[in-house]
Amino acid sequence: MEMIERYIYAVSLRLPQGQRRDIAEELRSLIEDMLEERNDGRPIENSDIEKVLIELGSPAKLAEKYRGTNRFLVGPDLFPAYLSVMKMVLIIAVSAIGIIFAVETILTPMSILQHFVDFLISLFVTATQVFAWITAGFAVAQYFDMEPFGLAGVYDRKKWDPSELPTVPDEKKRIKRGDVLTGIIFSVLLLVVIRFSNHLFGILLFEGHDLETTIPFLNDEKLVEVMPLIYLLVVFGIAKEITKLVAGKWTKKLAITNLVINGAIFLLAMLILRDQAILNPDFVQQLTESWGVSKQQEEYATIEIVWNQSYNLALAAFVISLLIDTMTGFYKALRK
């Protein structure tokens, strides 16, 4: 009789909590009915029970029948897109980290062991983050039953109208994989550079062949403060590219989405750059000191101007590229 309980337990383990008790009761009475009929009054032995259980099928299979439809974290419709996004981002992230490892090793070959440890840690942290976020994003899409436009169309599965079939996109409006890839590479590079190698992101000063010191462009402490915002920025950047990839071609709707996301990216960037607090406040001083230029000299003022102008230039380049990206979207969407 113990075998029956074990069987019922094995089945109910695989069922939703709410249905377990009822199904267990029903199964128990079924098995007893079956035993009674098969044995016709003969005392029941373990071998009889085994025969009945084998007839009922394995617990996993029976539970599957009870559950009916399969439930997915990421279902077959979304899976191809999931896989290709995952591959793309993982490959980019791993190569970015690899490049950093190579650069660090070239710069300071003596501490290769330390670099290698850093490399492994970054690899692990990034890979788990990438995996978790992409999976979470697709799981949400699955939960709300979203379908990739490019694959299944936006029409109802059962009552669909052939006139709703998506048109084959014009070659000029088609979104190229390469563009999307570039966008994602840019976002990931930004993250990797800032997150893991701020100490290399600056002016490198060499003593002979060895890296003597770096004068960083950014303020390390402030950077830690705004790190969550930077993560958000990267998430927006990648979300934008994935939206494009899923849409497959430029439409007015996509151009507007692109505008909204770019607007959000702009606001976030302004928040991160607020008061220029993220910049290294002692940059000019550190640089002039290492070059042996004193505050009174004319060069000091020149260096200060160059530093400020470079910042403005970088900011301008960022804003202009956002504008161009936004307008290109509308141009491609609206042209015939």
Binding site: E25, E26, S29, E32, K65, Y66
Partner: protein
């Protein structure tokens, strides 16, 4: 020959799977518990495994075609299923459809046998 048998068996299985629901609904004018249905259906030439029937009964109940009640009086507690009002309506329509399918199929067979005879 065995390959033909295998194919026939496979196709037959698909065919049966489609008819099980109507068969089950047709026997639930009176309340029945799962295992009594297994016996009734197999007596009437429509054998069904309990492992298939029990989940099916539950699904039909969830769809609102069946109502169920536990009977704990006397001996073993058993869950009885009975056609709901909606279930009756659905069954009536299904029966009509079934008859027309049978009629149409017979028509198809007659025709093809007729043309085959004519050609040979």
């Amino acid at each position: 020959m065995s390959e033909v048998d295998e194919l026939v068996e496979k196709l037959l299985q698909e065919l049966r799977r489609g008819t099980i629901t109507i068969g089950v609904l047709s026997q639930l004018d009176e309340p029945q518990y799962g295992y009594s249905l297994v016996s009734i259906l197999s007596e009437k030439g429509m054998p069904i495994e309990p492992g298939t029937l029990y989940p099916l009964l539950r699904r039909l109940e969830k769809q609102g075609l069946l109502e169920s009640k536990w009977d704990t009086n006397g001996g073993r507690p058993r869950k009885y299923y009975l056609l709901s009002r909606k279930g009756k309506e659905v069954l009536d329509q299904l029966k009509k459809e079934w008859k027309s399918i049978v009629g149409n199929m017979e028509g198809l067979f007659r025709e093809s046998e007729g043309t085959n005879d004519g050609n040979d």
